[in-house]
């Protein structure tokens, strides 16, 4: 029985909890991509760098708060800076829309041209972020780091294995739930939300029934800015902020959006968790876990690891390719890219 509990705690500590936090971060990122695809009809390659930009503004504001002595008690100061970061990022995105995407909408350019334009925007944002904050790691987590420490858990329960829960992990899950609920309420219950869904379903019909396209576009960018900034800040608090890793997040986020069914908000969340748990579970070494569960004679000698952790990114690629081949609409029947 003790062995079983040990195995369970081990699994929770190295797979379940990190997977939940990472999955929530990916889900928020994928939601932004899917929303933009559903409403403005293009895959936004600049999304990872939008996250980097949003996080950068929050980091800078957090530093400013810290320098004038504002703190948020046991919670990270970055949460106080978050609303300001979202506002700045939303304005930043709207400016990019006016400069670049508006033109392509007006000439009714095919989606692929919008996608290519977003690649250009991605590189520009990339440069802006590096120019302002530099390419290095920035740590902006403050406040209480742990809710439960591994050693404290071991002492309290007497088990061999420890269970650690970082406050950033709990924050990530809680904020993700709140934000996603708010988003669904907005899309389903408010007038603006409904008009956005109408616009997504059938643009011409929506225009005929008097929905203002400018307004829909504006609100979409604000939502995307908020989702990207929150996702980026949560990822940065949990791990660390480095512009290049945010750019790399683009792949798992796209994979998540496509797996779930692009243009489909529930699918994006589902996809986020599918990708996150696949990455963690495929690269985890189960030797210790199995040693607890099976009789001593059958304990494995090898590491029982399916893929070396070097191939973590390959997992997103494989999922992406398999889904596009087998079920291009995604798990929840979204649009076909």
């Amino acid at each position: 029985m003790i062995d079983f509990l040990n195995a369970l705690v081990l699994f929770a500590n190295f797979v379940l909890i990190p997977g939940l936090a990472y999955g929530s971060q990916l889900a928020l990122g994928a939601l932004g991509i899917t929303l933009l695809y559903g409403i403005l009809r293009f895959g936004n390659f600049a999304h990872g760098d939008t996250m980097a930009f949003g996080t950068m503004t929050v980091v800078l504001i957090t530093w400013y708060f810290q320098s004038i002595g504002i703190s948020f008690g046991p919670l990270p100061t970055a949460l106080l800076a978050l609303p300001f970061g979202i506002a700045i990022t939303a304005v930043f995105l709207v400016v990019w829309d006016k400069l670049v995407y508006k033109h392509y909408r007006e000439v009714k350019a095919p989606p692929i041209r919008m996608v290519m334009a977003s690649v250009g925007v991605m590189f520009a944002m990339n440069g802006i972020v590096r120019f302002i904050i530099g390419p290095n790691d920035q740590n902006f987590m403050d406040g209480e780091r742990f809710i439960l420490k591994a050693r404290a858990f071991k002492n309290a329960t007497g088990l061999n294995e420890g269970l650690a829960i970082k406050s950033s992990q709990l924050l990530t899950v809680v904020i993700a739930i709140v934000l996603v609920s708010a988003l669904f309420w907005f899309l389903n219950k408010t007038r603006t939300g409904k008009s956005m869904r109408a616009f997504s379903d059938n643009e011409d019909l929506a225009l005929l029934s008097g929905i203002s396209p400018q307004r829909v576009v504006l609100v979409t960018w604000i939502l995307v800015g908020a989702l990207a900034t929150v996702a980026g800040v949560l990822y940065g608090l949990d791990k660390s902020f480095k512009p290049f890793t945010y750019f790399q997040l683009l792949l798992p986020m796209f994979a998540a959006a496509i797996v779930g069914g692009v243009g489909h908000p529930v699918g994006a969340i589902l996809g986020g968790f599918v990708v996150a748990f696949s990455e963690v579970m495929v690269t985890y070494a189960y030797k210790k876990f199995l040693t607890y569960l099976v009789p001593a004679d059958y304990a494995p000698d090898g590491l029982m690891q399916l893929l070396s952790t070097d191939y973590k990114f390959a997992v997103s690629f494989i999922i992406l390719v398999v889904v596009l081949l087998v079920r291009p609409t995604g798990l929840l029947r979204g649009k076909v890219i």
Binding site: F14, F153, A164, Y235, S240, Y286, K287
Partner: protein
Amino acid sequence: MKKLLLASTILAGLTGAAFADGHEVKMGVILGFTGPIESLTPDMAAAAELAMKETAGKVLDGKTVVAVRADSTCTDAAAATAAAERLITAEGVVGIMGADCSGVTTAIANNVGVPNGVTMVSPSATSPALTTIEDKGFFFRTAPSDARQGQVLADVLKDKGITKVAVTYTNNDYGKGLAEAFGAAFKANGGEIAISAAHEDGKADYSAEVGALSAAGAEHLAVFGYVDQGGKGIIQTSLDTGAFDKFILADGMIGESLIKAIGKDLEGTIGTLPGSESAGAAKFKEVATAGGLAKNDGPFMPESYDAAALMILAMQAAKSTDRAAIQSKMMDVANAPGEKILPGELAKALEILKSGGQVDYEGASNVTMTEVGEAAGSYKELVVKDGKFATVKVR
């Protein structure tokens, strides 16, 4: 820094003009002035040039050795090879101090240095693979091979009674070479490597790596990475998840910034770092300060000074600036017998050689060359105590 650069440029210009009548001998200084270790190389080059300044006008019949700098980039083998080619064919250098990183050093030695018969002395390339390259005796290094560090680390663990470790290394020539050397030495000492896994630098999240490392069931984790890179992330994540709390560090991980970042959980961590607490190391600091260098104890600065000094002494011992003649005398001046020479005593060494005597260059890093022409190497065994790396003993 700018002023220093300007001053040294002017100085170089002046000496160039003063000795343009055949009294100057060119030596290449090829280091990664751009690239991943660009923060270290200016001080390394300055240390090498300090040895040249010290012997100005005193080599052979009143000659001065002057440096010609070139960029090895640390990572780009093609660019480094081209730069070395220029030094040898266009500038006509008699020897090369460099290169710095193991990969480019191997490329230069194989493609340019050895084929042209030019002596190379690297101050910082530590890959074990360089021990066995086909160098025809032209490649030397004042930095010890990581094979030696692996052995030292294994011995430290043996003394402490640690018999099972997990190993993680940064995925490049340095990390891989060290992990292999350590693994072989540790097994020979009767230890068991539970897992040896690479990690990539520059990632935000190392929980998957740490999960795999901890699953192998060792209590100690040996980290062969970089202090401001993945190595730090691995240690942080290990402590966060409770996977490991006992660490073993190699030279790339030794830095006060690690203790600053991790805090008191690092207490009791053990590690090794090349270096000694010899008289030469202390003397070098004095000489560097007196010589007006910006720093007097940066990484690989003593080795750089020694690399240049060795070639100058070999030149004097050979009584010639011929490339092959210099090579033939390198081992003689580096090892016993002869009078021991410390930093700042190069002029004295030149006098001894001129009068037909012998020298045993100790220098700043306690130089003794093995028969393949690399420093035997002494290492400091360190332990983290009261928030600092404290030296336990020198091995």
